[in-house]
């Protein structure tokens, strides 16, 4: 199976790789895994005034999983928290041209976004 050009590009030049301090104000962290393939994905957002000003990821997995999370962080930046919740895995599939066997990678990215948003919300509410 050949990866699409976009996947290869994200794989070779991953955007926003890295991490924030979990405890930092306005940071939401989502860590998810896919038990079928053993991939692990961490995605973090930094929120100011309800807008995602920065996003970072770290992924241990295949090229598609890395590309999916890299793309997700690109999309997240500049979005409001509410808009971010609307990102669907199918959008990622379409943008990266993922073949059927790699769709679970995009699902993982969507799960990671949801988990990061939930974590941010939980932190915000507990204040």
């Amino acid at each position: 199976m050949a990866y699409s050009e976009k996947v290869v590009d994200h794989f070779n030049n991953p955007r926003n790789m890295g991490s924030f301090k979990k405890e930092e104000d306005g940071v939401g962290t989502g860590i998810v895994g896919a038990p079928e393939c053993g991939d692990v994905m961490k995605l973090q957002i930094k929120v100011e005034n309800d807008t995602i000003v920065d996003a970072k990821f770290k992924t241990f997995g295949c090229g598609s999983a890395i590309a999916s999370s890299s793309l997700a962080t690109e999309w997240l930046k500049g979005k409001t928290v509410q808009e971010a919740g609307k990102i669907k895995n199918t959008d990622i599939v379409q943008e990266l041209n993922l073949p059927p066997v790699k769709i679970h990678c995009s699902v993982l990215a969507e799960d990671a976004i949801k988990a990061a948003l939930a974590d941010y919300q939980k932190k915000a509410d507990s204040k």
Partner: protein, 260 residues
Amino acid sequence: MRLRGIFFSLSERQSMNAHTHSTDDRCENTDDRRELQMARSMCWHCQSEMAGEYFCDRCVKVQPVSKDLDYFTCFGLPRRLALDPQTLETKFYELSRAFHPDFYQNKSDAEQTISLGNSAMLNTAYRTLRDPIQRAEYLLDLEAGSVKDIRTTPPADLFEEILDLQDTLDEFRASERASEHASTLRTKLHADRAVLEQRQRDMEAQLQQLFSRWDALQDRAEVTEQARVERGRILKDMRDILSNRTYVKNIVNDLVATIA
């Protein structure tokens, strides 16, 4: 393939009946479905009541293995996780001989199709049950309907650990091989590997324990609420350990390949 076998039997039966019944061939869907169900308890060839396992008692024709039959039942084994490999193998060879397409070359198309379908099913069943992990995964699939929630709980600590280790691996890959820094990292990675491999052994032991607990519970065959809860808990724990096992296996493989 199995379904094809059944369809074959249907069409054949229909053509056999064609001269006696002048009804419309395009019978309604509901009739089709009813016939499919009947096809399982009735010989596709002579239509006598099926008492034998895979062969009709009366006309000795091979019968398609029903798709509702689980792999355990297929080999005549109880749904347990402890399994004697010798018994499984013996039964596998026995059935392989019975279904092998070579023995059906001079038989009708319908029988050839059934022989092929049954052989394919048998091979998959054998491969699945032979491996203890695949066997457990298969059992979880089978039981998924009867237990409310056997989805896995994400092991957050393990994920953190894996990602940290991944950082160290990246750092190691980027470092000058002969440098002191690289050798410090290598020592750390070797230590990490030992810890992870110990954890793998622990997980195997835990799985073995869960397998025995499951079997014991099945043997007791209680229908109490307590037994039901216990069942669910064992399956959930199994699911969790099997998933964690995959994560750990992946990172260990990566680690071993990097420091090799």
